[in-house]
C-alpha cells in the first residue's frame, strides 16, 4: 500500500523538481529522472593550448517532465602553473558552446611567481520555455532525451600555464593535493 499522498498530492510544493548533486568521485546518484554516475576525478588536469573536456564536468542528462528551467553549476579549483595562468573555459551542450557562459580565469601576472590558486565556477541556467531551440544561448523548446553538458578549457598560450582540480599549498607549503570538483544540476518547474 502506498502513501495517501501518492494519490492526493500536497496542496503546495516548491518548484524544485529534482537536484542531482555530487562530488565527482564516481558515485551513482538516483533522482526522479534516472540514475546518473558522476565522473571519477582521481587526479588534477593540466591544461594545454587546445580545448579539452574538464574532467568531472560532463553529464548526460534528461530533465524530468515539466522542467522549465535547469541550472548547471560546476565548481572546481584553478591553479596557475606559469605566469598568470590565463585560461579559457566554455560551457558546451551537445557540442554547441553556450556563449554567455564563457569565462576566463587568471591570477595577476608575475614573471617568476605563480601563486594564484582559487575556486572557480561555471554556472548557467538553461531556459526550457523558449519557442525554438537556441543552444548557443541555452534556450530550448523541448528536451526529452539525454543532452551532454560539459565544460571545456584551454590555456591562453603555452607561456601562461594552468591546471584544474589542484591545490598547490595544502597544510604544509609544497604539499599538493587533488581537489575533486562538484557538479550540481537542478530542475525547476
Amino acid at each position: 500500500m502506498g502513501n495517501l499522498s501518492d494519490s492526493f498530492p500536497a496542496a503546495s510544493g516548491s518548484n524544485v523538481l529534482e537536484v542531482l548533486t555530487g562530488t565527482s568521485d564516481g558515485r551513482s546518484v538516483t533522482v526522479e529522472s534516472g540514475t546518473y554516475t558522476l565522473e571519477n576525478v582521481s587526479t588534477f588536469q593540466n591544461l594545454s593550448t587546445s580545448y579539452a573536456d574538464i574532467t568531472g564536468s560532463s553529464i548526460a542528462y534528461t530533465p524530468p517532465v515539466g522542467t522549465k528551467h535547469l541550472s548547471y553549476e560546476f565548481n572546481f579549483m584553478f591553479d596557475c602553473i606559469a605566469y598568470s595562468g590565463i585560461s579559457h573555459f566554455k560551457l558546451m551542450i551537445d557540442n554547441t558552446e553556450v556563449i554567455p557562459a564563457y569565462k576566463n580565469f587568471a591570477s595577476n601576472y608575475y614573471s617568476t611567481y605563480h601563486h594564484g590558486n582559487f575556486p572557480c565556477s561555471v554556472f548557467y541556467v538553461f531556459d526550457l520555455t523558449a519557442a525554438s531551440d537556441d543552444a548557443a544561448n541555452g534556450k530550448f523548446s523541448s528536451w526529452t532525451s539525454n543532452k551532454t553538458i560539459k565544460v571545456q578549457g584551454r590555456e591562453y598560450n603555452s607561456t601562461y600555464q594552468s591546471a584544474v582540480h589542484y591545490m598547490i599549498y595544502y597544510s604544509t607549503v609544497g604539499t599538493a593535493q587533488t581537489v575533486r570538483p562538484n557538479l550540481t544540476i537542478t530542475a525547476y518547474s
Binding site: 500536497a10 516548491s14 587568471a106 595577476n108 565556477s121
Partner: protein, 195 residues
C-alpha cells in the same frame, strides 16, 4: 475546508518553498510568489570610485508565506583592469547594506601595468525571517516587514582610481590577445525561500 494533505502530509517533502533561478538575459520566471523578470545584462560594467549597482544583481522579491530564510546568490565574473583591481562589493537590502555580506576582491599587485586577474564572484547571503524585529543591516527581517517586494542587489566600487576593474568581462578569448570581441558573461541570480 482545508486540503487533505494538510492532515496527511506528502510522503516526502523538503523545506524549500521556491527557487527563483535564472541567467540574467531578461527572461521572465514564475514561481509561487509571483512572476519575476530578470535583468538583461548586455555587456561589461566598468566600475570606478563611485558606488554603483552591479548590473544583473537587482531583484524585487517578496517571499512566499511561511518563509523563514531567504537565500540570495549572485554569480558572475570580476577582473582587474589596472594594478590589482582592488574593489569592494556589498549586498544591499531595501537600500541598507548587509554588513556581514561585504566582500573585497583583488588580484596580486605587479606594478601599474599588469592586471591579468580574472575570477568568479559569488555573492551570497541568507536572510533570517524568524526574528521578531527587523535589523536590516544584520539581514534579520521580521516577516511582517517583508510582505511586499523589497529590492536586493549588489553595489560595488573601486578602492581608488589606480585600482580599477570590471564585471562580466573576459579580456582574452580563445588564445587571442586582449580584445573587445571577447564575449561577456551573463551573470546568474538565484533566490531560494526556505520554510
Amino acid at each position: 475546508m482545508g486540503n487533505l494533505t494538510d492532515l496527511f502530509p506528502a510522503a516526502t517533502s523538503n523545506n524549500i518553498l521556491e527557487v527563483l533561478a535564472g541567467t540574467c538575459d531578461g527572461r521572465s520566471v514564475s514561481v509561487g510568489s509571483g512572476a519575476y523578470t530578470f535583468p538583461n545584462v548586455t555587456g561589461i560594467q566598468n566600475i570606478s570610485t563611485s558606488v554603483v549597482n552591479v548590473t544583473g544583481s537587482s531583484i524585487d522579491y517578496v517571499p512566499p508565506e511561511g518563509t523563514k530564510y531567504v537565500s540570495y546568490k549572485f554569480n558572475t565574473k570580476y577582473e582587474a583592469t589596472s594594478a590589482g583591481g582592488i574593489m569592494g562589493i556589498n549586498i544591499v537590502y531595501d537600500n541598507t547594506v548587509i554588513t556581514q555580506a561585504a566582500r573585497g576582491f583583488s588580484g596580486n599587485y605587479m606594478g601599474g601595468t599588469s592586471h591579468d586577474a580574472e575570477t568568479t564572484i559569488s555573492m551570497e547571503f541568507v536572510f533570517d525571517l524568524t526574528v521578531p524585529t527587523t535589523n536590516k543591516a544584520a539581514g534579520q527581517i521580521a516577516p511582517a516587514d517583508w510582505t511586499a517586494a523589497k529590492t536586493i542587489k549588489c553595489t560595488a566600487r573601486s578602492y581608488s582610481s589606480t585600482y580599477l576593474g570590471r564585471f562580466h568581462g573576459n579580456t582574452y578569448f580563445d588564445g587571442a590577445s586582449a580584445s573587445s570581441s571577447a564575449p561577456y558573461v551573463k551573470p546568474n541570480l538565484t533566490i531560494t525561500a526556505y520554510s
